[in-house]
């Protein structure tokens, strides 16, 4: 059964087997809690109160500090290309909290024994480790109503995250640079959704150099679309392409 929820400024699409719809309430509660804590669009969120100086970081919740520290770890491992800070210094955890929300939703569904599921929040997808491979599409950055390609998610590639400038303009901070990004869309398939999301953002922010660095240092597959429309793909992604032309 397919369910949709509006959350975190976008739409979540959740696939559950028949008879498991009750878990939608718990998943929705996870999203609401995360939005209430991290949204910079809500003046009353914990992160907004820190940004405005009403709350000091030292007094923040364990959950917020955990996300912030995880984002800082990623800043370290990506050599600063991924950053949880806006150019104005405000802590912006948008680059990680949506993936964390998907991760928590997935962990919940596994914990309650749901045999097969998928969670798609705003185009970032996590599928269950049980229940077999799932076919997913990747949208064409030039036309969100068309597919660029389809791949198989499963095994060591349960997560697919896509970053880019196609939908929201150049929303990725790049050290204050206003130059257009080299890639307009980057999709990363990985074992974990947070890694996939952070690394997709890293490649958009860091360009071809970051692409080579990410495929070298992490066990991920990548497909990129640059400004001219040209594509690059890692060997694993090429192998994951679904070879059945629509009947």
């Amino acid at each position: 059964m397919r369910h949709t929820l509006e959350t975190m400024g976008t739409v979540a699409s959740i696939e559950l087997p028949a008879g498991w719809s009750r878990e939608l309430v718990a998943v929705g509660a996870i999203f609401d809690e995360i939005e209430g804590r991290f949204s910079l669009y809500r003046p009353d969120s914990e992160l907004s109160r820190i940004a405005s100086g009403q709350l000091v970081l030292a007094g923040a919740s364990g959950e917020l500090l955990a996300s912030y520290s995880r984002a800082l770890e990623w800043r370290g491992t990506t050599l600063g290309v991924f950053s949880p800070h806006r150019p104005d210094g405000v802590i912006d955890l948008n680059g990680i909290v949506k993936a964390e929300a998907i991760e928590r939703a997935g962990a919940h569904l596994q914990a309650v024994g749901c045999p097969s599921w998928s969670v798609n929040v705003g185009g970032d997808i996590l599928v269950s480790p049980t229940g077999g491979a799932q076919l997913v599409g990747i949208a064409d950055p030039a036309d969100s109503s068309a597919l660029l390609c389809s791949i198989r998610l499963g095994g060591s590639r349960l997560a697919l995250a896509t970053s880019g400038s196609a939908q929201r303009g150049d929303h990725i901070w790049r050290g204050g640079s206003t130059e257009p990004t080299h890639f307009v869309q980057v999709s990363v398939a990985a074992a974990h959704i947070v890694a996939a999301d952070v690394l997709a953002t890293t490649i958009v922010a860091g360009g071809p150099e970051a692409l080579d660095d990410v495929t070298t240092r992490w066990d991920v597959d990548v497909i990129t679309v640059d400004r001219s429309g040209a594509l690059r793909a890692s060997p694993g992604l090429r192998r994951a392409l679904v070879a059945d032309i629509a009947a």
Binding site: M1, R2, E6, T10, V11, S13, E15, K98, N120, G122, G123, D124, V127, Q134, L135, V136, G137, I138, A139, P141, S144, S145, A146, L147, L148, C149, S150, I151, L160, A161, T162, S163, G164, A166, Q167, R168, L211, D212, T215, T216, R217, V222, I223, T224, G229, L231, R232, A233, S234, P235, G236, L237, R238, L241, V242, A243, D244, I245, A246, A247
Partner: protein, 145 residues
């Protein structure tokens, strides 16, 4: 004997790759290579009287250079090398380098052929609520795919 011949091929291939790997550093390889481990063979041995190397996949020694270790895997088919893959390289910082995972150009026609009508989900750069309505995902959700 056969093993020695194959090892020779593997080391020759390794040298080629190392030279390629270090291209730009203008360092000669004369004193840089030392074999640190004995080789292992994972190939199937179908005949014992064959004159050439048996078909199969062979993993070469890990070879140390001053710029890091390199290990090569060679696939033998019909008595000749059909594929040489670098299993492991490390750079000067000790980071693992898997050049085999490099993202290479791919033609749009190659990926277009993969489009499936049976996808259950569509990934894309974060949809706003409005963009979602115009997306393939929205169509899938309405269809209850």
């Amino acid at each position: 004997m056969r093993t020695r011949a194959i090892l020779g091929s593997i080391l020759a291939s390794a040298s080629v790759l190392i030279v390629g790997y270090q291209a730009g550093t203008t360092v000669t390889m004369a004193n840089g290579i030392s074999v640190t481990e004995s080789s292992t063979s994972a190939g199937s041995t179908s005949g014992t009287t064959a004159s050439g190397p048996a078909d199969g996949t062979y993993t070469g020694s890990s070879v140390n250079t001053r710029y890091g270790a390199v290990q090569i895997q060679v696939t033998i088919a019909s008595g000749s090398i059909s594929e040489v893959a670098a299993l492991h390289l490390t750079n000067a910082d000790g980071r693992s380098v898997q050049i085999s995972n490099h993202a290479a150009p791919i033609l749009r026609s190659e990926v277009l052929g993969s489009q499936s009508a049976r996808v259950s989900n569509v990934g894309g750069a974060t949809y706003t609520t409005q963009a979602y309505l115009a997306s393939v995902q929205s169509a899938l959700d309405q269809a209850g795919a």
